[in-house]
Symmetry: D2
Subunit: 252 residues, 4 copies
């Protein structure tokens, strides 16, 4: 049986004169790109450039909306009323669709960013509001969810196209949440180790937690990072190792 | 012969907790609404509310993009490279299209705001860059231009749908520019007088300047204002007077 | 025995082209002005104008710092690390001091705004961080606290100059918090009634709650509002009524 | 005769999660730091950190105010009325003074940033407005000016403390303006060459232009850059070379 998986990464996170990450290098590794939409990072120029590169390299374009908080990089939780939550999704998705179209592509998927993602993974109402707003605009959009969280329940219920995401480089607790970064072993720095874990989880069709427990889920895509030269190296190594494991890397 | 004209106004210019203008009242007077897109004014909530009202009242929705400058309300000139100029148009138009679709409508026209409009009315290259970026995304978009300016030459050349706009309440110089606000007679405060001028210009198919000269042009829409209670009164009076002149008020 | 009280109001909350409130009218009523510092509202021009008026009218100038969140008017809670919290206080206080000095005055007091104030009234650590940062810069600053809250405990502990504040137009719960706006009777719209309550509380040296309970506290200043024409009327009426009650209105 | 010169660099230009330059390395090379004030770059946290380092390393702290334009990094020209121009200087200088005081230091000098600096170097009225606003707040402030420009005339006329600045790595035209970056030889990439030029200009008490002409001026400080690893190397090499030329490096 051929196993396939998508590799995704957040990008387009530069802003004005400030550069973040190495999008050109990452786009040679991943098959899906989650591109910031100007609220927590990115700006119209950065979006145009990143989407243009993604089109050239055949990488799937995703909208990556977040809270309107440049200084906090969208990582500070904000309480928004339901309407406002939906409006920031609509606005950012629409902007991303226009930028993608101008670059010769289109927005295939949507993945929430930062604090908004954290909140939606815990509160199904927030997930539902965000996803519904996006799907009303674009019914075929693939929603990328943190596998085995409230997000997954919501997209199953919405009966929309969706992709379940796991992290290559993070240990999991038994409730499918990530082990806190401050704890030993929370972040996996060894690419071989990370790739072996991913292969095992794909085979098992389950998240494998630190304790060895298995949480059955749909694994469609693996999140990689590219914000440091070291991160690019690890992402490259994971990709190579997955290929040697006979896992086909392709867009979901 | 039946004469018809569209009435337009800028709106959706509130931001967060700050209110500007009286959009609900204006939407009972105009047939086209130029709605700010969040760069110089407006935010996703304001756009959603204003567009929802426009749909309910059958008023045509327009994107009204400007420079990214909330504090200066988009009235400060900025020099942007050609790519950046096009990207801010794409981004704002895309956001407006999504907000309009979510409100049950669609973006029919585009009118540039503030300093960006002033610059485009003088520099055909700026007008061309902005309009081309918008038309690539939405080929049927109606471009609203300041009649008899460089903008008009550009849209004629682009062979796109367009509407020529005159001001009801401003006196014109012989080169079709507006008489400077600081000069006596520059702003017409009397609604009857304003409406009479509009009717004459529509009949003449020309801008009639302060000196009495005529500048032939296509007059499709008249710009009204609604930022003060007095402005709403004037706009109402102009509408009534035009109707008494047997000019039909309808969307371009 | 002569009773005296200060009247304060938030102001300088316009931004760019957006006007909020009627600062000129309010400055004829209050004795202390809490002036926004550009993060949640206000900008350098608005600060200059408001402070200039305050100096002319002999009203005490206060810095009114908040979260950096124009769109949410500083009313959305944000979790900031302790250092960041202190840095936003330092920055805004410094800016306010410079603007006040340029206007011929100086910053006498500090009052936290919106969500930051709410958080500090419940969490003494947040109050302490903010107040300490301000007092390190300006040891004689008067800290305005919500009377009988955690804020009061903190300023007593810091042994700094402080003023206890009550609201003229809001009903209190038995724990000194405000009755939720959504409940009947939460907001007092009758100026006579509001002024009578204030006089009683000043006499009692205590907050008098809806149930009639008394919470002893130091009452130095009464918060008034001026964001609507009606609010200005109520503020004026409260001031007159307090004077008729032989309560002297003067700066703390 | 001992010759002395100050070395300065712009820093504190990171913002939120975005890093720019290597301030820690630069602070080992320069004697004066021009620190962004949050309008075009920098934020309260970045200011606190950079100023703390400057105090530790004995480097003079300067306010480096610019236009309120994060996306354009303060490099886009804006037309502001005289009052507004003064208010943005006051606000930024006040914020910088508070941050410096909290870090255990104080603001010794002021240097304008980006487009605001370019405009002030050509238009003496703009220079005068900015400098006067700053000096009214802080009469002993040292104003750093581009040597031999309109700025120099203004500070001579204001009779304030000032320092004349030259660039180590840029060729000069005969009118003391910089050779356009697009022309060959405009930027000097060789550290030895750059240092030799600086030494010659200090000896001559004049800017030496590309044609060999001399423009007499006061040279107090040399601007270095540190935005790339290469720039840090060049800055280090210039410093060493100046020391070998028996030029003492010390704060103005």
């Amino acid at each position: 049986m051929t196993r396939t998986v998508d590799l995704n990464a957040d990008m387009g996170e530069s802003f004005g004169d400030w550069t973040m990450g190495n999008d050109a290098a990452l786009l040679d590794i991943v098959t899906s790109a989650n591109i910031a939409c100007g609220f927590h990072a990115g700006d119209p120029n950065v979006m145009a450039k990143t989407m243009g590169l993604a089109v050239t390299k055949g990488v799937g374009i995703g909208a990556h909306p977040g809270f309107s908080d440049l200084q906090g990089f969208g990582r500070r939780r904000m309480s928004l009323p339901p309407d406002s939550l939906q409006n920031i999704i609509r606005y950012q998705l629409g902007a991303a669709q226009a930028m993608a179209k101008s670059a010769g592509g289109s927005v295939r998927h949507l993945k929430l960013h930062g604090a908004l993602s954290n909140m939606a993974s815990q509160d199904p109402e927030i997930a539902r509001l965000c996803y519904q707003a996006a799907l009303d605009l674009s019914p075929d959009l693939v929603i990328v969810v943190l596998a085995a969280t409230e997000m997954e329940k919501v997209v199953r219920d919405l009966r929309c196209a969706w992709a379940g995401e796991i992290f290559a480089d993070r240990a999991y607790n038994d409730d499918a949440t990530l082990v806190d970064r401050s704890l030993p072993g929370a972040v996996i720095h060894d690419a071989e180790n990370a790739a072996t874990r991913v292969a095992k989880m794909i085979d098992a069709g389950a998240i494998i937690t630190e304790s060895g427990a298995q949480i059955p889920t749909k694994i469609d895509t693996v999140c990689l990072h590219g914000d440091t030269p070291e991160a690019i190296e690890i992402a490259t190594a994971i990709r190579s190792r997955l290929q040697r494991e006979d896992i086909r890397i392709q867009k979901f």
